[in-house]
């Protein structure tokens, strides 16, 4: 399956949903053809995935145009478009939904993102929405025992999440 992820945040950004998007990209890349279209200058690498970065250090209109073009190029031959909420991604996604027939699913991974009209309009065209995210990775701390149980729960949570997404992607229209 050809999957395109789109997000305003991606590591080295630290705020949610950056770590989620990177982890999802990594996990999906093992079994699918994955491209992530993100804002940033030097995103962290993910083995097996293509990361397309659009600089944030340009005035807003310019970066929105660049992101829209990058997303359109990636999405036109994709099987699914999975986007993070937030106007800087929703607006370009809304524009390209008029141009391509790729099914789109919105993930509400950024609780701080403001809701604009773009989200309302995009929701009408979306094949689905996802609200849940696996918890953050437990930290391994130098003076504490390795949190084996928490790490196992984290792995399990991600496995379930990816399975659920693959199911949704397969049936999205």
């Amino acid at each position: 399956m050809k999957i395109v992820l789109a997000s305003a945040l991606f590591p080295p950004d630290i705020a949610s949903p950056a770590p989620y998007v990177k982890e999802l990209t990594r996990r999906l890349a093992g079994a699918h053809e994955v491209a992530a279209v993100v804002y940033g200058s030097f995103p962290e690498r993910v083995e097996g995935a293509r990361i397309v970065a659009v600089s944030k250090r340009r005035p807003l209109p310019l970066r929105l145009i660049s992101f829209t073009l990058a997303l359109w190029r990636a999405a036109r031959h994709a099987d699914i478009l999975y986007i993070e909420n937030g106007a800087s991604v929703e607006l370009p996604a809304l524009l390209i939904k008029w141009l391509v027939r790729t099914p789109l699913i919105i993930h509400f991974g950024d609780p701080a993102a403001k809701k604009y009209f773009s989200q309302k309009m995009l929701l009408r065209r979306a094949a689905g929405t996802i609200t849940e995210s696996p918890p953050g990775r437990p930290e391994i701390l130098p003076f504490a025992p390795r949190p084996e149980a928490a790490l196992a729960a984290y792995e399990q949570s991600w496995s379930g999440h990816v399975r659920m997404l693959e199911e949704k992607f397969a049936h999205a229209k």
Binding site: I14, Y39, F42, E44, R57, R137, E139, P142, F143
Partner: protein, 357 residues
Amino acid sequence: MQNNTGQNRWGEYRERELAGLRPILKELGFELAADQPHLGGERHLTRPLGSGRKLVLVGRRDGARVIIKASSEAGGIKEIEHERTCREILERISFAYQTFLSPKELLFVCRGAYTILITEFIEQERPFVERPVEEQFALALKAFKAQESAHATTYAHARIIKNTFGEMRAAGYVKKIKRYTQEAKPHAALGEACNFLSHNMQTLEQYGGFLTHWDFTPQNIRVRGGDIYLLDHSSLHFGNKYEGWARLINFMALYNPPLAGALVQYVRDNRAPEESLALKLMRVYRLAELVRYYVGWLPNTEDNLNELAKARIAFWSEVLRAVLGDQEVPAAVIESYKQKRDSLRSEEEKLRQVGLH
């Protein structure tokens, strides 16, 4: 001769400023403490001699200790005002996800030739370095995470920070290390460090745009109620995420190697591989900067202080070689340096060091 001249000039400046400040502070309801740890010892070498001088004093009001920063020189006044602006902007910065703790400002005033900034003194049960290493690690990590939560990524963010904090980007780090390499000759070899940064500019840039405390060492932090308070806001700027980490880890390579190792291990275990490289790059940069700093002492010192500067150049060069080679500094090298340093330090400086960290 130059050493005495520098020390004498600092002494004259200090006495002149204190004589002018005392009546103003009294009028404002503050008095100076008898013991002033930030005035003696090697202090004359840690500030520029020509301009930008300021006094950092311990005072009291109604029995409570306060910190007084004062200057009558253009450079020093600018530094005090800059620190205040940084503090104000940090409190209302829109792209920080966590808040910073800093001592409360009690008074900012311009009286006569003096600009004076008075903040509360953060009383702490125990200094940072006297806490168990596990606690030091947890506190440092908490403070670093709070700094990292301010990440200037957009055009609008860059506009907010550019004029206040300044921003160091990859090209800036490389330019500076090239200068340090030139200036440190023939006393220290920094060529390998310079090449290492030049070849990894993308990683330097990748983790840029983060708020970082340029001088994150125990003397600039105080601990109260499980929280770290950052002192000296003029040392905050936007740059590589690991600039502050590198400063503390390099410092701890001398004072507390297990803590230095724990912080490096944390990054290795929990963050992307590129971040370990970014940390190493910043450690190398900060060590080159430190070596260059002590090379700058050589023409201004003589006798024991000059020998001490040479010992410091040799020791920090050794640490730099170890970091470049992904090695630990042998404990014997650290001990030998500490003994030499203690034998060369003046009694006044030894006194100043007590409780400083």
